[in-house]
Subunit: 338 residues, 4 copies
């Protein structure tokens, strides 16, 4: 932590700042420059993060120099984490190819879609039973009935399954049916929910919030890791910007950005990011070339009849063709699909 002192601050006030730091059991190191005095704070910066240092009279700026997260950091855990979802590996060179409909609508429809995506090479099946919808007038999901269907269809096609959990009170129930929890973008900072899944030992797919910085995302992960659950996969699904021709803006640079500072795998969801089937295949290819640990794609056998987000689903044939490209790119990138 570095504290920059305002110009013309009297020495007595600088002494007060130093005393404040030393009261916390830390050391202060003063450098007087021509235009500004700066104070380096030596010791555990974590102790300071909750302290409102900027409110001390005479303080102009407070510049943190350490990352605010620890368990998620590569400094703390240098090797890539490999997350195990059923028998499927994500991370460390293994790609998670997650596919399925936005919402679980019926056993027949899910079974048909699962057959298609399995044949095309997907290794994890997705489908929502609890749906966070901007409008209360939209379809809200089948609930437990949907979870049962997802489990049965997953077993039939020999695919582990991932589904969203929205409420801390649903965690036990979802844990009985799913191989992986998904926490959606709107809940990335639902801290009670993060703590609750952190208490389980079930893998978690944590989606980036619509306006979450990379640092915010890694801080949210920390809530899960602190509970003892280390099986977390991050997911980029687009952020909100001024551009209106796509639903959100896909930020692929987060992939190498996260990999540089964290050991956790990160996958990409071009379906929610773009909201446009014409853009999804290019963005999925780009994700693999950017070294993402997988892609998450919505597929529906009849998008105009889908009860949720049908506008953005690929048809089975489109997904099949895309997966051919992704396998070629995975080979060039030295990655495997289990």
């Amino acid at each position: 932590m570095i504290i920059v002192v305002r110009p013309q601050t009297p020495d007595a006030q600088i002494d007060d700042i130093v005393r404040h730091i030393e009261d916390l059991g830390l050391k202060a190191h003063i450098s007087k420059g021509e235009m500004r005095t700066i104070i380096g704070v030596i010791g555990d910066e974590g102790k300071l993060s909750a302290e409102p240092l900027a409110a001390i009279p005479g303080v102009e700026q407070v510049l943190p120099i350490m990352k605010p997260f620890k368990l998620a950091s590569r400094e703390f855990h240098p090797q890539d984490t490999v997350v195990q979802v059923g028998k499927v590996k994500i991370g460390g060179g293994h790609l998670g190819m997650i596919a399925g409909p936005c919402a679980i609508e019926s056993r027949e429809i899910l079974d048909e879609i699962a057959g298609h995506v399995r044949a095309a090479g997907a290794n994890i099946l997705r489908g929502g039973a609890f749906k966070p919808r901007t409008s209360p007038y939209s379809f809200q999901g089948l609930g437990e009935q949907g979870l049962k269907i997802l489990r049965e269809v997953g077993d039939k096609h020999d695919m582990p399954v991932v589904t969203e959990v929205m409420d801390p009170r649903q965690v036990d129930l979802v844990n009985q049916y799913a191989d992986m929890f998904q926490i959606g973008a709107r809940n990335m900072q639902n801290f009670d929910l993060l703590k609750e899944v952190g208490q389980t030992r079930r893998p978690v797919l944590l989606k980036r919030g619509l306006s979450a910085s990379v640092k915010d995302l890694l801080m949210s992960v920390e809530y899960i890791l602190m509970g003892g659950n280390h099986q977390v996969v991050l997911c980029e699904r687009g952020v909100r910007t001024f551009e209106t021709s796509t639903r959100n803006m896909l930020d692929l640079s987060i992939v190498p950005n996260v990999k540089g500072q964290s050991h956790l795998p990160i996958i990409v969801d071009p379906s929610h990011a773009t909201g446009r089937p014409d853009l999804i295949p290019s963005m999925a290819r780009a994700a693999v070339a950017a070294e993402a640990d997988g892609v998450h794609i919505e597929v529906h056998s009849c998008p105009p009849k889908a009860l949720s987000d049908g506008d953005q689903a690929l048809l089975p044939a489109q997904y099949h063709s895309l997966m051919k490209d992704l396998r070629k790119l995975a080979e060039v990138m030295g990655k495997s699909i289990s």
Copy 2:
């Protein structure tokens, strides 16, 4: 709803689109233009909102023409709603002046602050017992002990109290102590929480999410109103943009924007929006001049010792001086403070 058909779409495909609309019990009205055919959909647009019409072959664009919310709209309820928090009114010309510390730290500190803000003219006391913190290493609040302190201090100073609820499982508990629920920005789309407070008859202060559009905010309100709880006050507290010299960007235009389309009161929180005590007074004045129904300001008697967000708190003397200005402006604007 208007559907724009792609150029060169064969008539048979247009017939398919029309059939799809009629299957929903609606009427379709075709206009063939020189460059495009458009289809006007007549009937209850709500029926269509969950339908992925853009995925029908031949459809180029789907343009909704109705607002997607109903209970919150001024068309549905033309008069201003006046929300009653204890004996304090917010809306319809009555200003809610909410003040207090970010977090409840102890009875002594809260009591001291409450004395100051009451004397300055605040009419509702705030303080957090459950704190949503980006970092799991930051102070997380005193929980029920904090709620008890808040209730007692509020009663002593004859002020109704507002406090944040973060988890649906806390709603019953908070309902026993508080006069108004606060739902924070990070939970604006925590739909299960919205439904839960919608089941109570306790007023709710709903803060705008960091990247929520005005429409998103009004859709979230709809979740509360649908439960039968009509006592909702909205709160602008800044949104996330590229600007880094303030914590968030305060969007004051939301005040007249919401008032034009909804009957609900809306207040402004310049403390969280700017994160800078040097900017808070100007933004509070601007809020009153923009016809906000109140302001929400953090005050702490010793910001450098505050356990949460002390950097952004006003000192009691600063708050006192600000309230003098706000009373003058309220008079010019024809508003009263109960």
Copy 3:
């Protein structure tokens, strides 16, 4: 300037960084912390700003501690600058009330509008002769003919006039007719244009770019001030964000933000910021309450017939009514309108 060194950087590499700094004639001050070594750089930080220090091996972060602008800063010039436009003062307690149509369409129309806004209390007349239009198919302005009309109508109504200059080659011409140059948002970083108006001694109204930070704006001002022209008024006119219900998002916090760090006046343009006549009056009132040094408002006597941006113009009667409110607020704020 503070340089944070990567963990485990060998001493020899730290010595290299220090040598690099000393080669620039500056002093380096090393502090070894538990987790990181930091190097304080003492001397003229300006010398370093063009240096790519982050590219030196071993450097993790470079943290500037000084403001990158000088002539615009309040440290350099503590008193408020008062800009003189004809006989009208802006800044230091004097409000500039700029009004007029977006584009100059004809002498008759401008004359009519000028009559209205003068009567309502405007003290500077605006109107565009050169129009930056997103679409090449939109009306591009009357050019020199428009400048002549503006001059004549301004003289007739005894109002100084401001008009936009878009191209360095137009500066001499516009200088012959206008009392103040306007540089639009799209040209805020058109550095050759900034240098050109910096060579004149004519006041400049510099609008904030659509995605310009406060720092960017003050850096652009520096280009004008360096040429010796100190008569600059800044203008907030909204920035681009995710919100789509307003044209741009008005950032009123820039007013106290700029005033804290710069001596230059700053006014607010709610017309371009919101693009909605129903929101303009509230935002103009808020601007005055936020201590802006004036407002810039588009007025047209017949918006549906306006050749440019008619959608956002106030009618003369609306402007008249707004000016009444603004005079009352100016009085509360202790400001005068010359």
Copy 4:
């Protein structure tokens, strides 16, 4: 164009709107729905785009249904445009591999860098002689001397050259030395500059503005195409968002997005977008996988000594290694590098 009429608008006012449309030589088609009346406007939508229809009393919304650009659209020109820069092709399966330093500093340095990038497979050399710098205190470029050096070094290494033009007055001069004009992000809406290069027959590399939508970018292209210059290559170089860990946010979805609606080639500049050498290679690979028509990368043989943007340059060895990957990916994608 569709006009949505406010509820309860009297018929006489609807008649006024219709008359307004018919006065423009267009036809109006009225549909009365349960909740709203809508008016379809039939005829050349271009005639309406400059009309402030939203200001007509009774009009609630105006919904354009046609694209506002024409010459850049794929409807107007279905085949991919191939731009010829010297003997290098960009577009239609041909990748433009542009590389070089940010600024031209000296003949020796540029010659050394050109040798490296040529050997690695670059086919166009870049380097700035006129530099748009946020700060007036930063290096502003060598001007004509730089252009001469660029031309000589390009000829020596048999590479066509591209360099930035910032001011309409520089167009003739730059045209004498360069094979391609670059228009930078800050000048994307410098309309006089766009018109000026539109008068030449020299290829133009037009970079997306920091907050320009895809539509804005295509409208700016229209200014160049209208002058008769059809040799335009677009360039994505990141947009400004709330994320602070990268300089800008690279929006790769613009690549398929532009290709769907325009015939023009589009390349990607990961150097300016990310500002971080550790992220550039992944983003360059992703760009090729997303079907970009090339990449634009800054390379410097000694970044810490570079006079401009050295922090973001790749070293020659890094560029060499990246180009190996890009060639493999280009092969998978069916693209060639001339």
